[in-house]
Amino acid sequence: MSQLNFDQDERFDFDDNFPSLAALAKYEPTIVERVRKSWEDERHFVREHLAPLVLSEDLQHAQNPDHISWEMLRLAGRHGRLVQYIPGFMGGKGNSLGISMMVNLEEQASVDCAFCGMMGGHGLGLAAVFMSLNLGVLRRVADRIAEHQNDEKPYVIDCAITEPTAGTDVEEVELYPKARLMCQAKHASGGAVLNGRKVFISTGHMATDHIVIMPFDQKNAENTMGCFLVSNGTPGFSLGRMERKMGQRAGSASELIFDNCLVPEENILLAQEQFPEEKFKQQFKLVLHGVLGITRTAVGAWSTGTARGAFDRALYLAKRIKYKGRTLIHQQWAQAFLTNMHINVMMARGAYLNSQFVLMRGFERIPLVIGFPSWMNDSAILYWLFRQNWYRKFLGSRWMHGQIMDYVRSSISEDQDARVQQMSSLAKVVGSDMAMENCQLATEFLGQAGLRHDQGVEKIFRDAKLLQIFEGTNQLNRLNIFTHYLARHIPGVEVF
């Protein structure tokens, strides 16, 4: 069985590749040191533990389209990758969604873009739980992840937004009024009843709980949104088909079917109607923007890793393949190709790091999003508190939820929100375009070595294409950048 091999490369020095962080180290040594250590740990993990699985897992999917990569998910669980972003006092590793998350994502993707896809469904779900600001559900989910991370089938969640007839339209709040939605929730005694179908839901067939977003009134979706947690086995909920994808096969893309599915009160993360005050009118937009700001930056990092993965494989092979009697690495045209690929990586990295800094500024008062300071993260008192039932009840109360929402709402200015929107879209577009471009270049310049599965390049090519499509197509993201950056300063301009 073929396996990904790596050269020892001194080339990948932290200071060479993250000059902005290296510069920051002078002013914020603790943060940067934490990032560097976590990055080194990630690098070790992906090269030593993940790499051996990459090609064999992908082959199994080619053989059997119904295969599910439990082995890969177990690997992630065993190595603490499922609790990485959960604060320490909630039982996680406390890397939070800070710089580390992005830098580590790049590292993972450089070895296996599809592994990130598998983790991405879970991550998107977590981002939705974080941004719903429902601490009651958050701590329940966090508990289950930590409790089951070493199971045969580790506990993960997903996030279901897309519907068969509405993809782009549910990626942008402005588009909701025009969307042809087919999912709708209805109030019922003891909770809410969900109906409809969701498609393309990453990790759907692996998840135990599903974070589902749908409105109570299709005609007034943007003001009646609800966010729900649906567990496997709930009557009225079933998994539909698993899509046969071009790549990204480690994670499933699943159809979720709701047929009068009753969600109990405590599993409603957010129902906009519960907060009818005028000040909460924009709450759903805020949640969606927050989620997208984080996840699009993350896709930027993941894409950068993918661009690097293609470059790394190309470089590895260029040192070994002879063409017209001379090893590729000595030929000027090959050097030009490799250099272009390297430039693409550096540009993409610059974009996602910039976006991460914008997130840290935009959400500076929301540690849940940008990371808790270590005194909080590692606090034994908080850890103890989070295990007390009375405290959990208090956190999960409607009153508390309202307080937190109010705090968060008032702490994000419109300007900051716009910056987050435009920079995260930019990171996503630049990253995914560079990822695809590097895959095109790698297959072009390697000839047949780029085409055969056992050399590891063709898989990246197939994996990369998704990056331009999901989290809003790159077309939608371009419109988003226009809206939040250019249009903001052009009164009266019509967008969408």
Partner: protein
């Protein structure tokens, strides 16, 4: 073999279209499951029965003695529905072309009627390191070594393979019978695209072949001529894939609603479609002109440039063909992701894309000296 007359061209076109519609369109995804599903020998046989595969052969060898224009036109229509089947015909025809050009009558007699012939379509024989060596022994040769990624090797009866003649720098083409137990084929290699075109590595520790099986003692200088003849066919393949992607994208975007209108009415979607349209529409004229030049024996730079232009543009455009369908482009149902993989694979026919560019310039400079 001269220029095709219009009636003849139209007849082949119609047969190809009908065959594509009936045999390929609905089954292309099944063929693509190879090597985890059976190789689709039946459809290759059917193509032969309706007269689509032996068109380049002379009548006395069971062919219809047509030129590149007819062949390219056929491949275009087949590739629009399934590039793998079209590529099989092309690779097999390259093998036949080699045997016709260099083979003794006895070899022609025996192998031109073979079901399939394998041919190293991804690289010119002198480019890659010489994995196979041929040593003179008695009246024949002994072959030793490895040939990598040989197209059609898992399913062909015989293969045209390059081997360096021991004691010289020269690379020769040999014809080897793949039923010979002295040669082993690896398990089929999974490819990016054209998955219906089986490929494998060949290896032998010592295969004796008769002297007649030495097809061409100097493939390094003879091969470019053979490849040049087939450039229009490879271009037709790429353009066919782009045309398939274009039609599928138009059909889908006319039905799909987002933001309250059919998405073909969004200008960004039209920009995507325009990228595919450019090559799908102009490509037919380009490969047609390339093919006529071959049939009329004119050596034109259009051969090299047309191949670069059509394969490179097609392979980039079909990515936009996926993009126009959003998430539905990324899953197999509409065939768009397959087309994206197929086009990329075709781009490497006759060598990596940048190498073809370098060779173009080398040729130009040589001629202008």
């Amino acid at each position: 073999m001269g220029t095709a007359d219009q009636a003849c061209l139209a007849a082949f076109r119609e047969t190809a279209q009908r065959f594509a519609q009936k045999e390929l369109k609905t089954r292309a995804l099944d063929f693509d499951r190879y090597p985890y599903a059976e190789f689709n020998a039946g459809v290759v046989r059917a193509a032969r029965e309706v007269g689509l595969s032996q068109v380049l052969l002379p009548e006395e060898r069971g062919g219809t003695c047509q030129g590149m224009e007819v062949f390219s036109e056929i491949l275009f229509f087949l590739a629009e529905a399934d590039a793998s089947v079209a590529a099989i015909l092309l690779i097999n025809a390259l093998g036949q072309g080699a045997i016709l050009k260099w083979g003794k009558p006895s070899l022609q007699e025996k192998y031109l009627s073979a079901d399939l012939l394998a041919f190293p379509v991804y690289d010119s024989p002198s480019d890659l390191p010489k994995g196979m060596e041929a040593e003179k022994k008695g009246n024949g040769y002994v072959l030793k070594g490895k040939v990598e990624y040989l197209a059609l090797a898992p399913v062909a009866e015989a293969a045209v393979i390059p081997a360096v003649l021991k004691g010289t720098e020269k690379i020769a083409f040999f014809l080897v019978d793949l039923n010979n137990p002295g040669i082993s084929r690896s398990a089929p290699v999974l490819s990016l695209g054209l998955r219906g075109v089986p490929a494998a590595d060949l290896e032998t520790a010592g295969l004796e072949v008769p002297a007649d099986n030495l097809l061409c003692p100097d493939a390094g200088s003879e091969y470019p001529g053979l490849a040049a003849r087939f450039r229009p066919a490879a271009a037709a393949l790429a353009v066919g894939v782009a045309a398939g992607s274009y039609e599928a994208a138009k059909a889908y975007t006319r039905e799909r609603y987002q933001a309250g209108k059919i998405i073909i009415d969004h200008e960004m979607v039209r920009l995507l479609l325009s990228n595919v349209a450019v090559i799908a529409e102009s490509g037919r004229t380009i490969f047609g002109a390339m093919a006529r030049a071959v049939d009329e024996g004119r050596e034109e730079l259009l051969g090299e440039t047309g191949l670069i232009l059509s394969t490179e543009l097609a392979s980039r455009a079909v990515s936009d063909g996926v993009q126009a369908l959003g998430g539905y482009g990324y899953i197999e149902d509409y065939g768009q992701e397959k087309r994206m993989r197929d086009a990329k694979q075709i781009e490497s026919f006759f060598g990596p894309a940048p190498v073809k560019r370098l060779e173009l310039l080398e040729g130009i400079i040589r001629r202008e000296k």
